[in-house]
């Protein structure tokens, strides 16, 4: 009886061992064979990342693999919110796509709804992985400098990563984050431990959300989560929608506080410090001048805009980065709503960014094969 039980246990143990060996082999195969486009296709896969923000780390690891495999040295990192991400259109209507035509060394790591604290955290995450931040382009918005109550939180997505990578900075904003109702990371310690400490060590668990999404999209079983990319004039509902407080707040004409008490300014300074000695291009995102004419012609808004531009130009001189204000440079016809653009709009924006990069940073290997889009 005892002998029979021992044999049975040994048999189960052998089977478990075989299973474990094959499981490890599958992980190796996955790391080698998983194409970049499953995880990153001209921009972050927001549809996946929004449901599990730990997937940002997996995206950065894939970008790093791409950089290493292709021996890239000079490449540009794009950071920002939904405007740099290029919503509401698809990936082939995005800034990343248009900038990459002919030269594929631009990585668009923008995440919709991301705030200045997220951009700073992303820079730290890139440093951690050894991904160069020598050339960074970042989009700013007027809304980012408006007073927070405390939402949107200055770190919308990456609070857990910020706490890990820069605890002191995290502590300085922790009281506001504690009051925030919009922050988007799990506060369950066990779930966080799994997502950030365990899963990233096992490739199938690390990339599971991307692979599943890719298969579901292929089978037509995953609803496409993109917005409506049509020009704004074709959307009769927009005017009514933009009257909602959540949108009105982003054009608040009350005087902006442009000092360290404004977390947007404080984090912008941290970013500027981080990028000292490196290339950094900031641009103020354009606003639809026709749709939002009432808001942007408010005297308070105009005064704020002038003060903000002058403040950012002074900062640019002090820290040595480039700043451009893109207000009014995009045709109203190329807007999809109040701030987002159509595919054509993003193409125009990409053209401007390319031009600015070339004039500010000169010719670099990553633009040597470029052709004008």
């Amino acid at each position: 009886m005892q002998l029979h039980r021992n044999n049975a246990l040994a048999h189960i143990a052998r089977l478990a061992l075989y299973s474990a060996v094959f499981f490890v082999l599958f992980q190796i195969l996955l790391v080698v064979c998983l194409p970049l486009s499953t995880v990153y296709y001209y921009r972050m896969d927001y549809d996946v990342v929004k449901d599990n923000i730990a997937d940002v780390g997996a995206t950065l690891d894939m970008v790093k693999r791409e950089i290493r495999q292709k021996h890239l040295e000079d490449y540009v990192i794009l950071l920002g919110d939904s405007i740099m991400y290029s919503g509401p259109g698809g990936p082939t209507q995005s800034i990343g796509y248009f900038l990459n035509r002919g030269c594929e060394w631009v990585f668009n790591l923008a995440i919709p709804a991301a705030q200045m604290g997220d951009f700073y955290t992303l820079l730290l995450m890139l440093d951690e992985r050894g991904i160069s931040t020598d050339h960074v382009v970042l989009n700013l918005t007027y809304a980012g400098f408006v007073k927070r109550d405390p939402d949107p939180p200055i770190v919308y997505w990456l609070g857990r990563e910020l706490a890990r990578l820069d605890l002191e900075t995290y502590r300085s904003i922790a009281p506001d984050l504690a009051r925030s109702r919009e922050k988007q990371w799990s506060s369950d310690p066990f779930d966080s431990y799994l997502e950030y400490e365990v899963y990233p060590r096992i490739p199938v668990l690390k990339y599971k959300d991307f692979i599943r999404a890719a298969v579901e999209r292929k089978l037509g079983l995953r609803p496409i989560q993109e917005g409506d990319p049509r020009p704004w004039r074709e959307k009769a509902y927009l005017k009514e929608l933009l009257k909602q407080p959540v949108y009105r707040k982003t054009f608040d004409p009350s005087p902006l506080q442009l000092d360290d008490a404004n977390p947007n300014v404080a984090f912008l300074k941290r970013i500027a410090e981080h990028q000292k000695g490196k290339d950094l291009l900031l641009f103020m995102s354009p606003i639809n001048p026709e749709l939002m004419q009432d808001e942007i012609n408010e005297p308070g808004f105009v005064r704020n805009e002038v003060r903000l531009n002058s403040f950012l130009e002074d900062m640019a001189c002090h820290y040595g980065f480039q700043y451009i204000d893109l207000s009014g440079v995009i045709s109203p016809d190329q807007f999809a709503d109040h701030v987002h653009l159509t595919g054509e709009g993003y193409k125009s924006l990409a053209r401007i960014i390319r031009k600015e990069i070339l004039s500010a940073w000169g010719v670099a290997p990553w633009v040597s094969t470029h052709h004008s889009s």
């Binding site: 049975a8 061992l17 075989y18 060996v21 599958f26 730990a54 609803p223």
Partner: protein, 467 residues
């Protein structure tokens, strides 16, 4: 804590190791402790309530050995049903009363929790008390055994609703447990099967179903049929996944829990369906509601009334909402209709494989119509949706219809495959004997890989956990 979460896997692993190491009656102590820990995860109030219900039922059972048998059963059953009624139906009753009378605001604003698994453990306790009262069962003398009988973490949250006559003797012999490799393999196999059903199928269907039903009565006839089918399979794969995993956990600790599903969508008629769908609830309804109401002993018409009433109560058991009552009523009417058919016209029609297939097909459509009652969010959507479903008045088709229809066909194919697999009990034995160990290792690694792929950031709770 869902069975498909890493937390549960860790809990089961630790519980199993300690259980295997513990000697004699300490095995029961280990199990009782982990049962309490598992339930505590839902909240201390939930646990307190379960302990309270268990103590009341335990002492009522003991009291039934004395002279005040009737009083004991009234107290035991009464308190359990009151407990269920208060926590599950309080707001439902008030909401309906408030339509006819003005109620004090304090009554309406009272906040209650819905203790997890309350419907399941209440029915299990009530069955125990009635069985003891009827003399079909001797009361459980040890509270430790009684606690494991009612709170075993493999079944406390969503069944199967175990009868004490089947489960209590198994619990009593827990101390004699010895490692049995065949049982262990069966446990792993059933748990894995359940995990795959839940993660790969039910949770993949959930967003599609949500997307369809969020449109309410705006769905076209084609959409509502697809939505009903997808939900029908979602609810089946979700609940049967849980039940398979419960059986697996039971085997791990040496318990044979009752099977709850036997491929219900292959049923020809309502009575067959209820002998294949949520079997432990169906038999509970039959033994403790339908038969005490007279069953079929008091004439054909009263039998029909009893079946309709029983099914309405079964619907209400699922949730405190009129849509569930209507779902029960619908199934009650189907059952009554089938009895009338059996008594009158059925004898004139010759059976055969073709007729059987036709019956299965037709009854499947009726079952899917029933799921609309179960899933619809607003009562006001129900009638327009059913009208569109039956009359095909709006034939416009949304995007990906072909893909979704193919998916429905695949899901039904899987259902048939499960039926064949369960009938051919030798498949796994042959697989174990004839296939080399390395190939079997490859198979298990592939399954583990697939399961890992389908672990979601925010796991969907099992649908039946809400009941």
């Amino acid at each position: 804590m869902g069975f498909h979460t890493p937390q549960f896997l860790i809990l089961v692993f630790i519980a199993f190791v300690l259980f295997a190491v513990a000697k004699g009656r300490y095995k029961l102590v280990v199990l009782a402790t982990f049962d309490a820990l598992f339930y505590l995860y839902a909240g201390i109030m939930h646990l307190a309530l379960l302990v309270g219900a268990s103590l009341v039922s335990y002492y009522s059972g003991i009291m039934m050995t004395g002279r005040r048998k009737k009083l004991a059963v009234v107290i035991g059953v009464g308190l359990n049903l009151l407990n269920l009624a208060f926590f599950k139906y309080y707001h439902f009753v008030l909401e309906n009363l408030s339509r006819f009378a003005t109620l004090p605001p304090g009554l309406i604003s009272l906040k209650t929790i819905l203790p997890i698994g309350i419907s399941f453990y209440t029915f299990q306790l009530v069955a125990y008390l009635i069985d003891v009262y009827r003399g079909d069962l001797k009361p459980i003398k040890s509270f430790l055994e009684f606690w494991v009988f009612i709170s075993f973490f493999g079944q406390v949250i969503a069944g199967p609703i175990m009868r004490a006559s089947a489960f209590a003797p198994q619990v009593a012999s827990t101390s004699e447990w010895e490692f049995d490799s065949e049982r262990f393999k069966k446990a792993v196999l059933l748990f894995t099967l359940g995990l795959m059903k839940k993660l790969l199928i039910a949770d993949s269907l959930a967003p599609l179903v949500d997307k369809y039903f969020s449109r309410g009565s705006a769905m076209s006839s084609v959409d509502i049929w697809i939505a009903a089918y997808l939900f029908g399979f979602q609810v089946y794969y979700d609940f049967s996944a849980y039940s398979d995993m419960a059986l697996g956990v039971g085997h791990l600790f040496g318990y044979d829990l009752a099977q709850n599903f036997r491929c219900p969508y292959l049923s020809e008629n309502p009575s067959e369906f209820w002998s294949r769908w949520h079997i432990t609830l169906s038999t509970w309804i039959r033994d403790y509601l339908y038969i005490p109401m007279g069953g079929s002993r008091n004439g054909f018409t009263r039998g029909l009334v009893a079946v309709v009433l029983s099914m309405c109560i079964s619907g209400l058991w699922h949730g405190a909402s009129w849509t569930f009552v209507l779902w029960g009523l619908y199934h009650g009417l189907l059952s009554a209709g089938h009895r009338i058919w059996e008594k009158t016209l059925a004898k004139r029609i010759r059976g055969g494989k073709l007729i059987r297939c036709l019956n299965v097909f037709l009854f499947l459509q009726l079952t899917m119509i029933g799921w609309v009652f179960f899933r619809v969010q607003l009562m006001s959507d129900l009638v327009p949706l059913l009208r569109k479903m039956i009359t095909f008045s709006d034939f416009s088709a949304g995007p990906h219809v072909a893909a979704y229809l193919s998916l429905v066909v695949c899901l039904y194919g899987l259902h048939i495959a499960e039926y064949v697999g369960r009938r051919s009990t030798q498949i796994y034995a042959r697989w174990s004997q004839r296939v080399p160990l390395a190939i079997r290792g490859l198979g298990w690694a592939s399954i583990a890989f697939l399961i890992c792929l389908f672990i979601r950031p925010k796991p969907n709770a099992f649908i039946y956990f809400q009941f």
